[in-house]
């Protein structure tokens, strides 16, 4: 599925070691009209539109230093090629972390995470990369090095260009380094896992937690639907007549006694609606959370990002059920014939949906999701070339399109960056 290497047989791979080398590569590409793709660990290189011609790949992984960790100020400046895992190992020496947990967090680089504005369950408390970045250093296509923002958490001087490259997929400039605000590592954490008998109960529980004064660091929903019996690592659903499983995960982190008090409060608030309630302590919790974030990716099938209004989740699930009820499994679907799965941030109303079906059915579900008033911002992140030929990965940009176009013209006038991958 590696889009870059598939689309062009042998692009040149450039491995700059300094900011100046990155700038020189960009200027050179602009002058020669060479198509250039910026890459970190490549964990998401198959996201986006199929690539056009690629003359060169700019591999950022040698720019992998933590330039500064001001632990007293809870900030760190990190080069684009550093992996989140290495960064968090280093920050932990001072009891701090960069609280991000996007998919592929064990390999993904900071530059890639920013460029895709990718995040995971911790978004509930800490936000997405755009909420944590406070300064940026960029190389532009004319070979110039420029910065914006700064090293302090509170700063409104000048334009915040870190936002401009967040979510840009490397289409406007190259990220060299970024400064982030950090958080103290929590002392203890536990997770409450709650099974809901149906979508209505799930929705009721989501609204109950949202309206409560509980303060989880993660608040997730998981929905697994299958034409066969649902698979679960934790519970045998074979006795259940339902073909869908609905789960809520609530993770609390604070002082140990506070975590216990929050777990108790959450359990009693949800007991009335729940099928089962289980408390998972730290060690098991780690496994549960890594399974939770991997489960959507560990099988073939199209994966789409989508959002919904969090309190209206029951309606959104009913719409999804209608769209997928008649799905037929494709060759890739295998045992999970016609299944869908969904993992998302309950109170944000954003997550990922996997559609295990043949390409035409996948495309049909995506089109229905886009047409539905219950969902918004439906973006294909993983999909076969056939699927990407049937539906545009990004969907329409609406009235933002002219701005995207003029920003692209302003920052990449030769049009050399990102090989048509989009979104701009």
């Amino acid at each position: 599925m590696c889009g870059i290497l598939q689309s062009t047989p042998d692009p040149v791979v450039i491995t700059p070691a300094t900011a100046e080398e990155v700038a020189a590569a960009l200027r050179d590409a602009s002058e020669r009209r060479h198509s250039l793709v910026i890459r970190g660990a490549g964990t998401k290189s198959d996201w986006g539109r199929p690539l056009g011609r690629v003359d060169a790949v700019l591999d950022m992984r040698r720019l992998n230093r933590i330039l500064e960790h001001q632990h007293g100020d809870m900030t760190a400046t990190i080069e684009a090629g550093a992996t989140l895992r290495d960064v968090n190992r280093a920050l932990a020496q001072h009891g701090q972390w960069l609280p991000l947990d996007p998919p592929f967090a064990d390999r993904a680089t900071m530059g890639g995470i920013l460029a895709t504005n990718d995040s995971g369950p911790l978004r509930h408390r800490y936000g997405t990369p755009r909420d944590l970045v406070i300064g940026i250093r960029l190389a532009t296509t004319d070979g110039v090095l420029a910065k914006a923002g700064g090293q302090v958490v509170k700063n409104v001087a000048g334009y915040d260009l870190s936002k401009l490259v967040t979510g840009s997929f490397g289409c406007l400039a190259a990220i060299l380094s970024a400064t982030f605000k950090l958080a103290p590592l929590p002392r203890a954490s536990k997770t409450l896992r709650v099974e809901a008998p149906d979508a209505a109960a799930l929705g009721q529980m989501v609204r109950t937690v949202m309206a409560s004064q509980l303060e989880p660091i993660a608040f997730e929903i998981e929905i697994r639907r299958s034409t066969q019996r649902p698979q679960s690592t934790r519970k045998d659903f074979s006795a259940s007549s339902a073909s869908s499983a609905f789960t809520i995960l609530l993770r609390f982190a604070s002082l140990p006694a506070v975590v216990d008090a929050q777990i108790d409060a959450a359990s009693s608030a949800l007991k009335g609606h729940a099928g089962s309630v289980e408390v998972i302590d730290t060690d098991d919790g780690q496994r549960l959370w890594s399974e939770h974030s991997q489960q959507l990716w560990n099988r073939d099938g199209a994966v789409v990002r989508a959002s919904w209004l969090p309190a209206n989740i029951t309606t959104a699930l009913a719409r999804l059920e209608e769209m997928t009820a008649a799905l037929k499994g494709g060759p890739a679907a295998g045992a999970a014939d016609g299944a869908t799965a969904m993992v998302g941030r309950a109170a944000v109303g954003a997550g990922l949906i996997r559609i295990d079906a043949d390409t035409d059915s996948q495309a049909s579900v995506i089109q229905q999701l886009r047409a539905s008033s219950s969902f918004g911002n439906v973006v294909v992140v993983r999909g076969s070339a056939d699927l990407k030929a049937l539906v545009d990965v990004w969907g329409p940009h609406g009235d933002r399109q002219p701005l995207f176009d003029s920003l692209k013209r302003a920052l990449d006038p030769a049009g050399v960056l990102n090989a048509g991958r989009g979104p701009v």
């Binding site: 409104v156 001087a157 967040t166 990004w394």
Partner: protein, 507 residues
């Protein structure tokens, strides 16, 4: 107040920035088209009526617009901006005029689009925790709308009773609680805005994760230079289970600073940490009588969250204060006591008027750990300059608000105050900080931008600006350094006529 701008060449280097505009250009036809759009009562061009709009809350920068238009709908804003684009007339969007950096300073002879009549609450959605308002709604009104349901809007600039949400979006306003809760940019889910060519654009919105570059994050804090916002959807937060506030007094500012460092080192992120020095304490006491102790330094710490957490961590904070020699520790026992402590803090700027005929509010940021050293330099500057400097600051995030006292009747003192204010900014930058934490660059600090940014940095920002506003008609002359504006009178704070008349106080 009008100054003749014609003999001076005001052409900007970039060629895109029309910071001045020939008043003669705004002809009768333009004004009558404005009246057709916004109605007779929606257009002001009488010199007396225009006085109110000559400046924002930074009254030493003032300029007379040719006209002010008061639209009542997004469609009217769009029609007005289209007209300006067609005629090449520069415009400045204005909220409630509480800005402290001259961000709403009119362009001489240009148009002011005052959004104060765009003040409807469009949607309150409690289950989904969001509120959509027009830009002229005040910050506090959002909280008022949702308070009965147990919710609030987190950003709380000191001027929250009067400042507008549109202005908050323009400035990316913070407030006392942004250490834990972040700024406006962290609480706005979407905006509808009119671009400088008159096209309507929706950034963000009711659904999360709009694909593409985060243009919403870019225009928040762009100080009205990229678009005119016509509606704003904000996230509201559930009131925390518990709030605990204490006020501790210390003999030295260093002792207070040490408490802050130790708290944060222990992994405690307070909802707010504020410090005031003796001059600021005296001023606040004289103005609103918060019953603050007569001390060198007071520290206000607020924790919020689950009861078990707040109780446990609050004990740690109290012990830390005691260990560092707090002379008084007052724990607010009631909402009224808590409100009184905050009243003293939030009145601090306005209160300086009680101890000095004139004052200048500076806004700079340093990395929190560099606070003691920068405060020491400010003390030395105070002795050297002979001007008293009060200090109020958000200690958790290193955001300083030195209040420079002077008397404009003393020849040269106003200039000296301006020089002192500029010197303090230099200290902030030398310590790795910023020119502004929350008041914005506006017209006031644009000439300082090269202290923090290279020509390359600024050129890149200008390229982005040009992508939004190629003709440079949207709040020109702000944020970026240009030669002194034509007609601009340099110098620090002078009292606004409305203030002098006792009709308003600076927040």
């Amino acid at each position: 107040m009008m100054r003749d701008a014609t003999p001076v060449d005001c052409t900007r280097q970039a060629g895109s920035d029309r910071a001045d505009y020939n008043r003669g250009d705004m002809n009768r036809a333009f004004l009558s088209e404005l009246r057709r759009i916004a109605g007779d009562e929606g257009v002001l061009d009488d010199a007396l009526e225009l006085l109110t709009y000559e400046c924002d809350a930074l009254p030493h920068l003032r300029e007379s617009p040719a006209a002010v238009v008061l639209p009542t709908s997004a469609a009217e804003v769009q029609a007005i901006v289209r007209l300006c684009a067609r005629e090449g007339v520069p415009f400045v969007a204005r909220g409630h005029g509480t800005g402290l950096s001259g961000g709403a300073l009119p362009v001489a002879g240009g148009l002011v689009i005052a959004l104060s009549r765009l003040n409807r609450v469009l949607n309150v959605d409690i289950p989904n925790q969001r509120v959509t308002v027009e830009p002229g709604v005040t910050n506090l009104e959002v909280t008022r709308q949702v308070a009965p349901f147990g919710y609030y809007y987190a950003p709380d600039p000191s001027s929250q009773q009067v400042c507008s949400i549109g202005g908050n979006v323009a400035e990316n306003s913070g407030g006392a609680h942004c250490l834990k809760y972040g700024f406006t940019v962290h609480h706005v889910l979407g905006v509808e805005a009119v671009l400088p060519d008159g096209e309507l654009v929706h950034l963000g919105g009711e659904f999360a994760d709009t694909p593409g570059p985060d243009l919403l994050g870019l225009i928040i804090g762009s100080e009205g230079t990229l678009a005119v916002v016509t509606s704003v959807t904000v996230r509201i937060l559930r009131r925390p289970e518990t709030v605990q506030t204490l006020l501790a007094a210390f003999d030295t500012i260093d002792a207070g600073g040490a408490v802050v460092s130790e708290m944060i080192g222990a992994g405690i992120i307070p909802a707010a940490v504020e410090m005031m020095d003796s001059l600021a304490i005296r001023a606040a006491e004289a103005a609103v009588h918060p019953n603050f102790p007569a001390a060198d330094t007071v520290l206000i710490v607020e924790l919020d969250g689950p009861a078990a957490e707040v109780t446990a961590l609050f004990d740690v904070v109290v012990q830390t204060c005691t260990r560092h020699g707090a002379t008084t520790i007052e724990v607010a026992q009631t909402d009224e006591q808590r409100a009184r402590i905050w009243r003293g803090r939030k009145a601090a700027f306005a209160a300086m008027g009680r101890v000095s005929p004139n004052y200048y509010v500076q806004d700079g940021v340093v990395p929190r750990t560099r606070l003691p050293e920068v405060l020491k330099r400010i003390r030395q500057l105070e002795h050297k300059s002979g001007l008293r400097i009060g200090n109020v600051f958000h200690a958790g995030d290193g955001n300083l608000h030195p209040l420079i006292c002077y008397d404009e009747r003393v020849p040269g003192e106003a200039d000296k105050a301006e020089a002192v204010a500029a010197e303090i900014l230099t200290y902030c930058i030398e310590a790795g900080g910023s020119l502004t934490g929350e008041h914005g660059i506006g017209a006031d600090k644009s000439q300082h931008m090269p202290k923090m940014f290279t020509p390359e940095d600024l050129a890149l920002m200008q390229r982005v600006r040009s992508a939004f506003d190629p003709r440079g008609i949207c709040n020109p002359g702000k944020v970026f350094p240009t030669p002194r504006l034509c007609g601009e009178v340099p110098g620090p704070y002078r009292q606004h006529p409305v203030e002098a008349a006792g009709l308003a106080e600076r927040m």
